[in-house]
Symmetry: C3
Subunit: 472 residues, 3 copies
Amino acid sequence: MTAPLTLNPDRLFPAEPQTRAVARRLYDQVKDLPIVSPHGHVPPVWIADDVPFSDPTSLLLSPDHYVNRIMHGQGVDLADLGVPPGRDGFTAEQARNAWRIFCEHWHLYRGTPMKFWMESELVDIFGVDVRPSAETADQIYDAISAKLATDAFRPRALMDTFSITFIATTDDPLDDLSHHAKIRDDASFTREVRPTFRPDKYLEPGREGWGDLMDALAAATGEDTGTFAGWVAAMENRRAFFKENGAVSTDHAHTDMYMAPLDDAEAVYARARRGEASPEENLALRRAFMFEQCRMASEDGLVLTYHAAVHRNHHQPTFERFGADVGGDIPMAYNVVEALEPVLNAFGTHPNFRIVLFGMDETVYSREIGPLAGFYPSVYVGVPWWFIDAPDAIRRWRKAVTEYGTFYKSSGFIDDTRAFLSIPARHDMSRRLDAVHLAELVVEHRLEIDEAEEVVHTLVADQAREVFKIDG
Amino acid sequence: MTAPLTLNPDRLFPAEPQTRAVARRLYDQVKDLPIVSPHGHVPPVWIADDVPFSDPTSLLLSPDHYVNRIMHGQGVDLADLGVPPGRDGFTAEQARNAWRIFCEHWHLYRGTPMKFWMESELVDIFGVDVRPSAETADQIYDAISAKLATDAFRPRALMDTFSITFIATTDDPLDDLSHHAKIRDDASFTREVRPTFRPDKYLEPGREGWGDLMDALAAATGEDTGTFAGWVAAMENRRAFFKENGAVSTDHAHTDMYMAPLDDAEAVYARARRGEASPEENLALRRAFMFEQCRMASEDGLVLTYHAAVHRNHHQPTFERFGADVGGDIPMAYNVVEALEPVLNAFGTHPNFRIVLFGMDETVYSREIGPLAGFYPSVYVGVPWWFIDAPDAIRRWRKAVTEYGTFYKSSGFIDDTRAFLSIPARHDMSRRLDAVHLAELVVEHRLEIDEAEEVVHTLVADQAREVFKIDG
Amino acid sequence: MTAPLTLNPDRLFPAEPQTRAVARRLYDQVKDLPIVSPHGHVPPVWIADDVPFSDPTSLLLSPDHYVNRIMHGQGVDLADLGVPPGRDGFTAEQARNAWRIFCEHWHLYRGTPMKFWMESELVDIFGVDVRPSAETADQIYDAISAKLATDAFRPRALMDTFSITFIATTDDPLDDLSHHAKIRDDASFTREVRPTFRPDKYLEPGREGWGDLMDALAAATGEDTGTFAGWVAAMENRRAFFKENGAVSTDHAHTDMYMAPLDDAEAVYARARRGEASPEENLALRRAFMFEQCRMASEDGLVLTYHAAVHRNHHQPTFERFGADVGGDIPMAYNVVEALEPVLNAFGTHPNFRIVLFGMDETVYSREIGPLAGFYPSVYVGVPWWFIDAPDAIRRWRKAVTEYGTFYKSSGFIDDTRAFLSIPARHDMSRRLDAVHLAELVVEHRLEIDEAEEVVHTLVADQAREVFKIDG
């Protein structure tokens, strides 16, 4: 006997009846508002070419490290799940089998956000009404496959279905942004798809291949990347190109948030170009590069988002076998208040500068990021991502950053996902949890209902547009 | 149409009816008890001279960095709010305009403790019944101004109204404490106003002007501050003077909590006096000075409070323009268990020694301060202050420190404020939240109601008196 | 008039009626399941010789540092409580007086887990029905004493009463395990009592007496502990002996979790044996020893548990007077993600390797341990112990580690106690809190009731057996 799969309209709402009633009232006012997604990882080619999705596994499992890692943690071989995604020789039968493995492990996801997202997708998007299990795996696989074969499930149609009015992709600085141009030039498609400038690897002189990147950067921009000044000019060149092509932000992720000018930047840069810089010099250079990115941001006005504090590819054998982004990245301790002192002294009150800080340490959010955002006009509190993008963690985050960071300095919800079909569920989770947080303030007489209604509307409809300077 | 402003009698109480009923019952038993405020920043001259307050802005806005920083975080110029407080040339019209700015930004405070405090003040103290907004700003300003012009709103009358029976100020070691003497000598005023010895700047040999302070210290005490031994003698002299004048505690704030004796203290001290000590030596000297303060505390019995772990004046341009204490201080990571090892090995079980530890990192409270207080008879858990002095943070703190630190090793509520009119609201928030915490224990059958009644009474009426050795 | 002492059947359950009803339903399904205790500190001789307990103080107070430290924190002399336990000359009258001191201080335990445990023991095990107080101390003492004199209160009978089917002790590597052999050889006693290999002091070359331990290790194994290779062989020898005698795990506690091979291990080891190694070398050697323990674990399959991050014996005078384990150990900050990189790169996906990580920092649990366990098949999340083994902390822990670590990578409950009579209460607390956590997921429609029923059964009945590879 298979268990049914349904979505309760009150999911994530607390049981206490008064609180639930207020939460429901607040949620009802925002649940159908369009989605604005200022930062994520959906490939622009999907939308440019309206690429049809091939099968459930390559769409929902292989590329989703949130889902994969839980099975890997129980001994499943990532290769059996189609990792790395799109690899040669992964057959249709293997894809179907990967889905079976997933459905057999469905119980593992109890208590996780992946369960919330996946259930929402199965029911709301694909109309599945049975719980995943060994018995139902094939039935679900076939049901999803049948939908994916229809035009209604191609990316552009889904953007309509999901009511996504704005979505940003994440792009290499040397990308020609031709996919974005194609989308923009197509008058029949009016939803906004914007690039995001993500230059991390051009800022890490200690990483293998950096010299080649510098050569490519020179070739693309006509600047002399043999000098620090030339590096800066080349970066300004590409940022301008991204801005012309509609970018509203740049995104950055390094292992710490320190940024500071470097006195002898040219000399250190020259040594780095020759591959002769010490690890300490390479680190100082990266921090100087980031300081320059902030300085540029204060001039060109692109919003800077910083996703810090992750130990990438913790398990080297997994990295060597499957590559990056397969679940082996682990959060770690970091420092914000000291790390940002130079850059906030330089640009913290600059009217054109805006920095959104993302972390994965709840203590740092409440102790450092919230208070910094409360004081500095340029600083915003990034929302929970990755290992804290989950109901209990989001509840804690909102309680931790609001009392001194305020609702009005949080970034608005950001899904940060490459799992395209999970976007509505992620935004829905956020809207529900904001409604719950506000409902608690209302029933505890900390906020009037009309105030809560204004806040929830601001958080869902306005805040991301305001923070990311999104027009219209 | 203006919205009404009222205070719900059940504010901060959870919605669940049984819990609310128990919370209300516990709160009712302590809500009208007198206020004991063992540490704060109210200027003693206000009480000594019963100085009338001039206007709403200079009383409620300009000096309150909790309030200011939220507007600054949205781009408001601190100068427009009358910062630094009392500065020359800030006109009556500018003061009124500052209040308008505040009222226009009233929505920013949603979800913050400043909303709770300010609403309590407006309604309970000033009888305001309309919500702050652009439309109501002038009306509220005029209403408050009218009250401030009456005798009932001078500091001594307000102390009666607020039922403050004991309040400690914070004073420079060389202060002559004449304001305190005046208060003490006035038989018509029987409420206790006590000084607190706050010697931070005399313990920081690396800070500009330290030599001049040493000269002044010598002049005031007749001790030779050319030597470490003389510094110690001078400090003992001033501590004795404060104790004679009614002080019950000394207060300290440095960027870390490390304290340790220094082997070659005299030599390092001599170099510091000549301005020739290295940064490391200055740091070691400060830690040795703090160790001496603890040693003195074990002898003279003054309670030592330590407010650590703040990066002061994070934004140098703001500090240069407006000075200290204008919202640019940000919490940071720190260590307690290692830092206090030497001093607790020396005085941790000394019957005369008592140290109250304040932090702004909830993890440190639960991981280090709570366990230390559980074991050491001399160690007490300071209450949440500053960025954690807010309902959700206070709830988390009580849950984090009680299970191993116990109710009986917490310090009793301390408002730590320079916002005189917020004192009743701050104590009221604390009383409500203690009632809620205890109510939850009762309804979960972790505590009997009679036990909870005893605890809430102890926390509100006795604990601060007991910890700070306050008589009567 | 004395207050009654009763246990409410709904204790620890939330007041909200729907949640309470679901929690009760889930709890009812597991409350009577047998206890499996894979790690603790009960002396095996108690069970081997079925040693009768002498009096309430030596059983319940003197050896229990959880209980003692709270009184010490209020100035009670540990000597008056019979610390160190079993010391010569502590008379029957002193024991009775210690119990009086405890009962007089009973109020201190309000809000602590010691209250929950002790009340459960008094009511459920000893049938006490009056609240501890100065007035009832003797009455309770006599009631407990009378029970302890009966055969029903000897260890083996209590194991039956408590339904403990499996319990592991903690043992020195050179222990001859004769107590375990005696238990195993007694066909009349069928409950499982297993040793645990705990080699800490053999891994700390910097500690006094390490050389003597090495000599003893050589004598016991016949290996040449003059070399690193010999140390390894000796350890393998003793681990094999423990495994033959039924051990399922090894337990480790050092101040950090770093483990890494050492290039010149033999040379450093030789210097350490001569007492000439530097502190840095001793530290590196300990980390290399731990790396070897992991390598051995990947071969012999013993589960490795790591209890890190405690500053032992913080108060040297207390340590000198009373020895270790008397309440002076304090948690501290530590790092997991960096510390475990080498060992997880080496053995993280080894099918035979299993490591259970215990910490006392909730942030580290959610930021590092949960995510590591989510990814690595070999890594499990240890449950809250010591200063976080308490209702509020356990609730926070479960919420913090489940969303990305999952229910299925937590270790199952581990009481880790030397307080034998508290074992049922500790497991009961855990079962209640798991039921509450799951009930909240159910009423918030994050989990179906049948899913929650499966999970609570898994957590209580299966997870510890599965993680610790316990047969039967």
